[in-house]
């Protein structure tokens, strides 16, 4: 009886993420599928907005879910599932950024080659969007997308955690390792920067 109720609830999306994860740990594949469907879009876009490249975003995305699967037997409900998921994502991103910085240092140390400049992958720069993404940047939505990419890393990640994952400021502060006030400031500056950027972009296009 209990199992039937849970299965029904899974189908109607009324079961909490944590319960789904525990069910998967018990051997219920359908629970994992449901969990995956709920969070795959937000997590993927979180990576995409940060790295600006579909392939890399998918690689990072796949790594995170592989980790979720491997840690399922040891999963304990200490926090919300989304908090745990995006904490893993944030750590993965930091590792990736560090790796890129090391690679860039190696590249910088190498003899100068003009052809190699294009290979540099600077996620902080505004000009690293791939052509397919550049084509998407049209209108206000496009301006917003471009402006998000131009935000500083700490503001961008706070903004995306709020908009994509729907997390509160307190939870975001926990994930990024900052205090509540700092996180709130980052969000405020992020919205302000985006407003100015969009205004500037739209002003430019209108002219």
């Amino acid at each position: 009886m209990g199992w039937q109720l849970i299965n029904t609830l899974i189908k109607t999306e009324l079961v909490a993420d944590e319960t789904l994860m525990l069910q998967y740990a018990q051997g219920d594949f359908a629970a994992f599928e449901q969990l995956y469907q709920r969070h795959k879009g937000g997590l993927y876009r979180y990576f995409l907005r940060q790295v600006g490249e579909h392939g890399l975003a998918e690689d990072l995305f796949q790594d995170i879910w592989a980790k979720v699967i491997s840690q399922a037997p040891n999963y304990h409900v200490k926090a919300k599932f989304s908090t745990w998921l995006y904490t893993l994502a944030q750590h993965k991103l930091i590792d990736h950024v560090r790796h890129i910085k090391v690679v860039n240092k190696v590249i910088d140390a190498a003899p100068f080659d003009a052809d190699d400049i294009e290979i540099k992958h600077d996620i902080h720069g505004p000009n690293t969007l791939t052509p397919d993404i550049q084509l998407e940047n049209k209108g206000a939505a496009g301006a917003l997308k471009h402006c998000i990419h131009a935000l500083p890393l700490v503001q961008r990640e706070c903004f995306l955690l709020k908009e994509e994952a729907g997390l509160t400021v307190e939870v975001i502060a926990t994930i990024v390792g900052a205090n509540y006030q700092a996180c709130k400031s980052r969000l405020r500056y992020a919205y302000s920067s985006l407003r100015q950027c969009i205004s500037h972009k739209l002003g430019q296009t209108s002219v």
């Binding site: 699967i69 002003g203 002219v207």
Partner: protein, 300 residues
């Protein structure tokens, strides 16, 4: 145209709503399939604790004797080990049961009654102490010998030797033997009034000291006492030995004094014959000297 008029003033809410329209990108189907396959694979390889729980049922049961009996065997081995340790410890600290027979008592007392003349007294005192120790060891040899007991005897002997070195500094060495002293002081003795009361007093004192010596020897033979802390064992043994040596020294002094008094009394009372009980209070050498003195006086 004013730029500000054309650009909309965006509130955070507006930005959020605008962003919601951007949430169109999705992960590729290939990635979806890969991840779902990983999830299925995770279940097959035992991600589920439930699956792990049931896996052991398929394990073939081993009929190893050790596996079936390892707990009882382990417990039995532990109990045996504890018993062996307990028995060893009990043997080590078992009191030496020495029910002394009367003849043993006389051996001890006679050993205490044989302090040598002053010059060699310390050596005989040491001999008496060593005899006491040897007697204790002899009693111990009747019991099943124990390595720890042998070690203890060795340790006691070593402690005794160390004490002997210290005693040499403390023992008051009479320069002259009682015989010589008595002879040389023979003329002077005439001037010393005989003091029978003193002789009786000395006899009583020697008797009392010898009883205490016997009791002390008993105490040493029954060392260590039950309940005595291991750290204090050697200290208590040393204290007992010190007290034993002191008693023998006291007895030696009293014997010398008694002999002097007896010689003086004999000088004044040539017909006086000392009782055997009085003579037994003296050392062997003193007894021999007394006999010689009597012979000399008789010849005179």
């Amino acid at each position: 145209m004013n730029q500000d008029d054309k650009t909309p003033s965006l509130e955070p809410q507006d930005i959020s709503e605008l962003y919601q329209t951007l949430k169109t990108e999705q992960v590729s189907e290939a990635t979806d399939n890969r991840i779902l396959a990983l999830a299925r694979e995770g279940l097959k390889t035992g991600v589920s604790p439930n699956m792990q729980k049931h896996q052991h049922l398929d394990k073939p049961k081993t009929n190893s004797l050790w596996r079936r009996w390892h707990w009882p065997l382990s417990i039995a081995a532990s109990v045996m080990f504890i018993c062996v340790i307990f028995i060893q410890q009990y043997d080590m600290f078992k009191p030496h049961s020495t029910a002394l027979a009367p003849q043993d008592f006389s051996d001890i007392v006679s050993g205490a009654q044989r302090p040598a003349p002053a010059g060699t007294q310390s050596i005989d005192a040491q001999k008496a102490l060593a005899e006491t120790e040897a007697l204790a060891l002899k009693h111990n040899s009747d019991e099943p010998t124990h390595q720890d007991t042998d070690r203890f005897a060795e340790t006691a002997k070593q402690a005794l030797q160390a004490r002997q070195a210290e005693q040499k500094k403390r023992i008051v060495m009479a320069d002259k033997a009682p015989i010589t002293a008595a002879t040389e002081q023979g003329i002077a003795a005439q001037h010393i009034p005989p003091d029978w009361e003193k002789i009786e007093q000395l006899q009583l004192q020697i008797n009392a000291k010898q009883v205490r010596l016997f009791e002390h020897n008993q105490s040493i033979n029954s060392w260590p006492q039950e309940g005595e802390a291991p750290d204090n064992l050697m200290t208590s043994l040393n204290e007992k030995q010190d007290a034993l040596v002191q008693l023998k020294q006291d007895i030696n002094q009293l014997q010398i004094e008694l002999f002097k008094q007896m010689v003086v009394y004999q000088q004044h009372n040539p017909a006086w014959q000392a009782e055997p009980e009085t003579l037994r209070l003296l050392s062997v050498e003193q007894q021999l000297a007394w006999r010689k003195l009597l012979k000399t006086n008789t010849l005179k």
